[in-house]
């Protein structure tokens, strides 16, 4: 039987606010253990939370980006469970009224535009980290630095039909989070984490199979592996006449397998109830509108536009859009109308990226502007200068604030494309190299290269090589 994979994702993103969600502690990663915490985020008796408004604003921005309805009046709830990294023994989260809900996101997957539903986005606090002992110490220790770091949880509809769908969605979310300055998006620091829900069903069926939740998926490529593994596992169970149990499994990326964490019977009863220490969140409508207006074109939609309107490949478009400055440059270069998108994209992905990678500098730090770059590309496209010449000019324009044409002229880089002038050069070269002409006519076609070289030499490198070759051939074949 042929099966269809159904996937839903719960993505947790740490927000890049200055301070934590309910206290004034610094929201920072990688500092010495237990230095970024206070009685409030350590859940000491008698302490109370106060909500960081920046968290609400960033979550609403994400809500707008994902076309959600914003519940500008909502509450926070306590999710109760015991674990040593959760000092209050409850997490302040949102239960039945999330800040944002009923949204969607459009993403290009393998050249096709797909629309995935977003169920809800809510705000909550992160837990601490357990450090398990080994050689250096006994038992387990808790680091509270991450306690109270603000999170948004973005819950999708079960709309993904392949691991590729899921990966494209995750990458789109990450690029949006970065674009809107909501999260630093650093996967290796756990800034984005996801839980994956997987089920399978016979192809063509309109009811869902029993879903299995997978925890500990920490990378996007890991998500692909985890989904493919779990789908294959479920199909095998079904093919062997078994049934799928609703359960939570833990993905082990190093081993490429998942193991049972808890069955449905052991599922936690979180005993959610409204957080009595925090008043109802009320965001003024003007604030909601203001945040909506602040959102410019998002990366996922840019990809679609670059591919559809400018004919750039999806991969190239994604690479450019991944870096906001590169994307801004492409837009600015296209605005001049001086160059084609393909040439502009090639320059950005080629010499410009090479420069940025090698120097670690951004383009703002150079003297070059997108307008000058577009003009320079236009010279190549019009045959005024060679590609090699353009590279020379590019290097100069990075450090000197000059008109591109002035540089071209000063360096004598104008390409001679005038047929009359070139015909004369060809005639002279043929006249002075009779042996090579004879060689060519005797079948030694590589003599053409030598003759072209002589023509370039005669024009001091400024002859249009393509034109010269054409003229030489015409003369030799005549």
């Amino acid at each position: 039987m042929e099966y269809e994979i159904v996937v839903g994702l719960e993505v947790h993103a740490e927000l890049n606010t200055k301070s934590k969600i309910y206290c004034e502690c610094h929201n920072a990663f990688g500092l010495e253990v237990n230095t970024q915490c206070c009685p409030i985020c350590m859940g000491m008796p008698g302490t109370l939370p106060t909500l960081n408004e920046q968290v609400v604003e960033k979550a609403i921005k994400m809500g707008h980006a994902l076309h959600c309805d914003i519940n500008r009046i909502c509450k926070q709830d306590r999710k109760n469970y015991f674990y040593p990294d959760l000092p209050k023994a409850y997490q302040i989260s949102q239960f039945d009224v999330p800040l944002c809900e009923h949204g969607y996101v459009e993403v290009m997957v393998e050249g096709k535009v797909k629309k995935f539903g977003v169920t809800r986005i809510h705000i909550e606090e992160d837990a601490g980290k357990l450090l398990h002992g080994g050689e250096s110490f006994e038992g387990s220790l808790v680091d509270f630095n991450r306690c109270g770091v603000p999170l948004i949880e973005i819950v999708s509809e079960p709309d993904f039909r392949s691991s590729a769908d899921a990966k494209a969605y995750l990458e789109a979310l990450r690029s949006i989070l970065l674009y809107l300055d909501i999260s630093d998006g650093k996967m290796q620091e756990g800034s984005i984490r996801c839980d994956v829900n997987v089920s399978v069903r016979p192809k063509g069926s309109d009811t869902f199979g029993t879903r299995v939740e997978m925890k500990n998926v920490n990378t996007f490529s890991g998500a692909v592996r985890a989904i493919d593994y779990e789908a294959a596992r479920q199909i095998e169970v079904l093919e062997n006449g078994g049934t799928i149990e609703q359960e939570t499994r833990r993905w082990d990326d190093a081993k490429g397998v998942n193991i049972l964490l808890r069955s449905k019977e052991d599922a936690h009863d979180y005993r959610y109830f409204p957080e009595p220490d925090l008043p109802t969140i009320v965001v003024p409508q003007e604030k909601v509108d203001e945040l909506k207006a602040s959102i410019t074109e998002l990366p996922n939609l840019k990809v679609i536009r670059y591919v559809k309107e400018w004919g750039i490949s999806q991969t190239d478009a994604e690479t450019i859009i991944d870096n906001m400055e590169k994307s801004e440059w492409l837009e600015a270069m296209m605005k001049t109308g001086n160059c084609t998108a393909k040439a502009a994209a090639n320059w950005i992905l080629g010499d410009i990226s090479k420069y940025m990678n090698e120097t670690g500098k951004s383009l703002v730090e150079t003297k070059l502007t997108p307008e000058k770059m577009a003009e320079l590309i236009s010279y190549i496209e019009k045959g005024k200068i060679s590609n090699a010449a353009a590279k020379q000019v590019f290097e100069i324009l990075l450090t000197e604030d000059r008109n591109p044409m002035d540089v071209v002229k000063e360096k004598g880089l104008i390409q001679i494309s005038d047929e009359g002038a070139l015909e004369k050069v060809v005639a002279d070269v043929l006249a002075n190299n009779e042996k090579s002409v004879a060689d060519y006519k005797n079948g030694k076609t590589n003599a053409l290269g030598y003759l072209t070289g002589q023509c370039m030499k005669a024009t001091k490198g400024q002859g249009n090589p393509q034109k010269l070759k054409e003229l030489l051939l015409a003369a030799l074949e005549a």
Binding site: M44, P49, N80, F82, P279
Partner: protein, 484 residues
């Protein structure tokens, strides 16, 4: 000197008729003399008190402008965090807990230059009506040492009643200031929810808890309330508003004031002696120009159920943090994480606390939430609306604080439901977030009877004024019993 009220001491200190050190020494002397009988204190901070008193005297000599509370000894309930001084909640769980921070109310009192004499006994985690659930000791009613002081702020009421301090802070979740004030014959104010910061008060039921003052006169209670109320950015539920100087604004004018007598508070279970005392007080107020009016608050009978559901639900979550991992008690022998939790919480909490945690956990459980917690919250809305209606027609409601006078130690401890019923007149006030004041209104033999004055939100001044008028007409409440 210990027998004076705070206002009297304040005036004497200002006139330099005595020093803060003398006042403090007198109070400490009284504590030494009677507290092994009364048992109000868990911690006496003698050195700290004398040191602070000395500083106040120096400031006064230097001519600094000082607050009315400067040099006044105040005892603090042991669930209010005091930096560097143990805060136990009268529980084995926090026996050795020394907070690295002070509650906002303590910081406020420090700015007033109060004299911190110590931390006083209570029911464990403020759960109880008799102070008998304390892990450390029994506190006795100074009016009759065989009887309970009431609870949960039993230490706060007993120490004021016994003349060990002129003022104390308690906390009130369902009557925990008013009931002991009533049993011990002192004045106790449960302020409007959100008027006093809860930051640093170890939470029992967050939506009901309020810190409040106890004293031997209305003016003293007004003075301490003025010092602790106000918006606090550390408590998101605290109200943004300005408050008057309640003590300076006291007025004994009752003319035209409508005093409501809600009939449900005079029903079965309320002793005749209590009813008589309340009615006597009502007629006294009437004679001073007030108008009496019978009103009805029909949902009162269900309030106790709603209260125990909401408060236990919140408590089950608030007390979950006491897990042996970070601070406080940790069981000695455990095998793995779950065993650590189970043993620590089984051994660290007393029976009453465990009973409420289990009750609260049950009512929040999946499948039961709607039947219990959700319905209790609906009842809360109904009770609040009924009070709102009553205050359309009345300025103040007058009720008994408790159905009867103080019971004997051990009398109710084996019968939780009987114990819970002592809160029947007080819990509605917390459910509706209102202010209420308990004042002494008579005696049954040696045992004081308390009258409860309930007002609309933020009407503390009106409550204090009403009580002040009565206090004037009966010649004051300051009556320290002989401890024997």
């Amino acid at each position: 000197m210990y027998q004076y009220t705070a206002a009297e001491l304040s005036s004497m200190l200002k006139k330099k008729e005595c020093s803060a050190v003398e006042v403090t020494e007198s109070v400490l002397g009284r504590i030494h003399a009677v507290d092994d009988k009364v048992g109000a204190f868990i911690t006496v901070t003698e050195e700290l008190a004398l040191q602070k008193a000395k500083q106040v005297d120096e400031k006064r000599v230097a001519g600094e402008a000082l607050h009315d509370l400067a040099g006044i000894p105040i005892a603090v309930k042991d669930n209010i965090c005091t930096k560097g001084v143990g805060t136990t909640c009268a529980s084995k769980m926090l026996e050795n807990f020394v907070p690295p921070y002070s509650a906002t109310v303590i910081e406020k009192l420090e700015r007033c230059d109060y004299v911190p004499v110590g931390k006083v006994n209570m029911d464990e985690f403020a759960m109880g009506s008799s102070t008998e659930t304390s892990y450390f000791k029994k506190t006795r009613n100074p009016n009759d040492l065989d009887r309970v002081p009431g609870g949960s702020s039993g230490g706060s009421a007993a120490c004021v009643s016994a003349g060990e301090v002129p003022l104390s802070l308690g906390s009130d979740t369902g009557g925990s200031i008013r009931l002991p004030a009533s049993y011990c014959g002192v004045v106790g104010l449960k302020p409007t929810y959100s008027s006093v910061s809860r930051y640093g008060l170890v939470a029992f039921a967050s939506s009901l808890d309020q810190i409040g003052p106890l004293g031997r006169s209305v003016a003293d209670v007004a003075m301490l309330y003025s010092a602790i109320c106000g918006r606090d950015n550390h408590d998101a539920t605290s109200a943004v508003r300005e408050y008057p100087d309640f003590a300076a604004s006291l007025q004994a004018d009752l003319k035209g004031k409508v005093i409501g007598l809600p009939k449900e508070y005079f029903g079965h279970g309320v002793s005749d002696k209590v009813k008589d005392a309340i009615m006597k007080m009502a007629h006294d107020l009437e004679q001073q120009g007030a108008v009496l009016k019978e009103v009805t608050l029909p949902s009162t009978d269900y309030a106790l159920n709603a209260y125990y559901i909401i408060s236990s639900a919140e408590a089950s979550s608030n007390l979950a943090r006491f897990d042996g991992v970070k601070y406080g008690f940790r069981a000695k022998d455990y095998n793995g994480l779950v065993d650590l939790y189970e043993k620590t919480r089984s051994e660290g909490f007393g029976d009453e606390v465990k009973r409420r945690i289990m009750l609260g956990t049950f009512v929040l459980s999946s499948g039961y939430y709607d039947a219990y917690y959700k319905r209790a919250k609906l009842l809360q809305q109904k009770i609040t609306a009924e009070f709102h209606n009553a205050f359309e027609a009345c300025d103040v409601l007058l009720t008994p604080t408790a159905p009867d006078t103080a019971f004997k130690i051990g009398e109710n401890i084996g019968d939780p439901l009987k114990m819970y019923a002592t809160d029947i007149c007080t819990v509605t006030v917390n459910i509706a977030g209102l202010p209420a004041l308990s004042v002494p209104c008579g005696y049954d033999g040696a045992l004081p009877i308390g009258c409860q004055l309930i007002g609309a939100k933020f009407s503390e001044q009106n409550l204090l004024n009403t009580a002040f008028a009565y206090e004037q007409s009966v010649g004051g409440f300051n009556r320290i019993p002989q401890i024997r």
